[in-house]
Amino acid sequence: MENLNLEIITLITGIILVLIGIWGLLTQKNLIKIVIGFTLFNTGIHIIMVSIGYVKNRTAPIIDQSVNINDVGNSVVDPVPQALVLTAIVIGLGVTALMLTYVLKMYQKRKSLEINNYNDLKW
Amino acid sequence: MKEDFKKRTVISPEGKPIEIDPLKDYFSDAKPKVYKPGNPVIEKFANWARANSLWVLGFGTGCGAIEMRPLMTPRFDAYRYGIQWRPTPRQASVFVVSGYLSVKTLKRVVRTYEQMQNPKFVIALGSCTINGGMYWDSYNTINRLDQYMPVDVYIAGCMPRPESLLAGFEKLKTIIKEGRGEGANTYAEKFDWYKANQKKIIKDWDMPDYNW
């Protein structure tokens, strides 16, 4: 089990979160819970992203006292996934906000959070 | 009058109303013409042919009709005298009125007679056509046929046997050959008189005066 490093654990956690998120998204009938399913899915992805960028035994890519300015290349983890995950989080935030807003609007119109009440459009 | 012969208004395809008078629009109202015999020589030849080609209208008006059928059988075989049956008045030349005539039948008989072409001949069969016979005081039969159309030959009897009929045809042949078979012309000449008689007895007169 020596392979079971930090990044592997987080990666697997991320994958499991993704699967749990999808499972929730697909099986829950409550709109809010579906949104929660989505956020789990999203979070799982973010964790996967961060895991991918991790380099063993290194520190955050910020040049301060703990990082030798002349040996940055060998002391920090990959900054790119971190930058990407920042963007992804913000996008996820926007999407979640939109979902909740739509749910709110739907609830206002029909006073129901049951997803089966919203399939007038079909076929 | 039958409903169909009353005047009616229909709408034309263009949407205009059209007045229809069936009796005028659908029936010719021309009067019959008198056709004088032509050149005597030709006429004599023609009369010979007419006499030897008697096409009888197959119209059983009364009970006497039963006596006409045997004429076609091998026993009497009227064909050998040039007598044949025709199903349509258009092509027939002899009209055998076979027995009594109810008023209703008279109407049909008159109509049929008028549809035959000149020259045409009438044989009246049985006593009833002569004086009404046993029905002389009946409420709905006529007594004398010759008041309604010219009759060439009467064959008396009730019923006359087929032999009498053959004799009657032979008599008719003689009459035609002598040029006396001009019943059609007589009918045209005395048309008004015949019509008056017909109309007197036929109350529901709902047709043109002459049925072409």
Binding site: I8, G73, V95 | -
Partner: protein, 232 residues
């Protein structure tokens, strides 16, 4: 039940797919070329101590612009969808809050705001940045609205901040095209001395606008949601 088992089967398939994807993943031991370039040359080229900031704001500035735009879009859609129609009754039933919360919030909110501003101004030096700072500002607003539910937050102010900072961000980007090497070029301003507050070119400026903008956008979303809370 059939449906659930179907979902389960599909999910297993998906899990297999993900497993297949990462089966060869064994952790990194070294930076790849790209990351190495950022780590080694980043401080020099961009002048930002926070390498993530360097990547986010400069190298991948266009992404950030898009990111801000997404928030902006989300805010606009939320505001559009939840816009309370003019003339609709606004008498919301609000629970009164406790004195403690009210008082505490009055003390804390300015501090939170200040902290937020600190975070985005120092975005190029320390962990944090425009997004983080904006989020902190918005959290202050949440506290304020929790404490004083009846308080009307000026939408106009939010919009104004949002628009001005957004336009400024774009203008900085365009200025990069006009006066420097490209859109959102960092070297529009001098890089300054590495590790100080006035360094890293336009990064702090951009982060200020980003912070303001994110704060305003999140605030907009929050206030809109909040104003709708009893409408349902």
């Amino acid at each position: 039940m059939v449906k659930n088992s179907l979902i389960f089967i599909v999910l297993i398939g998906f899990a297999v797919l993900l497993a297949d994807l990462f089966v060869g993943f064994n952790g990194n031991t070294d930076l790849n070329t790209l990351a190495n370039h950022y780590a080694v040359s980043g401080p020099e080229e961009v002048g930002s101590a926070n390498l993530v900031t360097a990547v986010v704001v400069t190298y991948r500035g266009l992404d950030t612009l898009g990111e801000v735009t997404i928030l902006f879009l989300a805010a606009a859609i939320v505001s559009f969808l939840l816009k309370v129609e003019a003339g609709a009754s606004r008498n919301r039933k609000l629970r009164s809050t406790s004195e403690i919360l009210d008082t505490a919030s009055k003390i804390l909110v300015p501090v939170i705001f200040l902290f937020g501003i600190y975070v985005f101004i120092n975005g190029h030096l320390s962990p944090g940045g425009g997004f983080q700072g904006g989020a902190i500002i918005a959290s202050g607003l949440v506290l304020m609205l929790l404490a004083q539910p009846a308080k009307e937050v000026g939408h106009k102010l939010i919009t104004l901040v949002e628009s001005i900072s957004g336009i400024s961000f774009v203008l900085i980007g365009v200025a990069g095209v006009l006066f420097a090497a490209g859109f959102l070029d960092n070297k529009l301003l001098s890089l300054g001395k590495f590790g100080t507050i006035f360094s890293a070119g336009v990064i702090p400026v951009i982060y200020i606008f980003v912070g303001l903008k994110v704060g305003a956008e999140l605030s907009g979303i929050i206030t809109n949601l909040q104003e709708n809370q009893n409408e349902a």
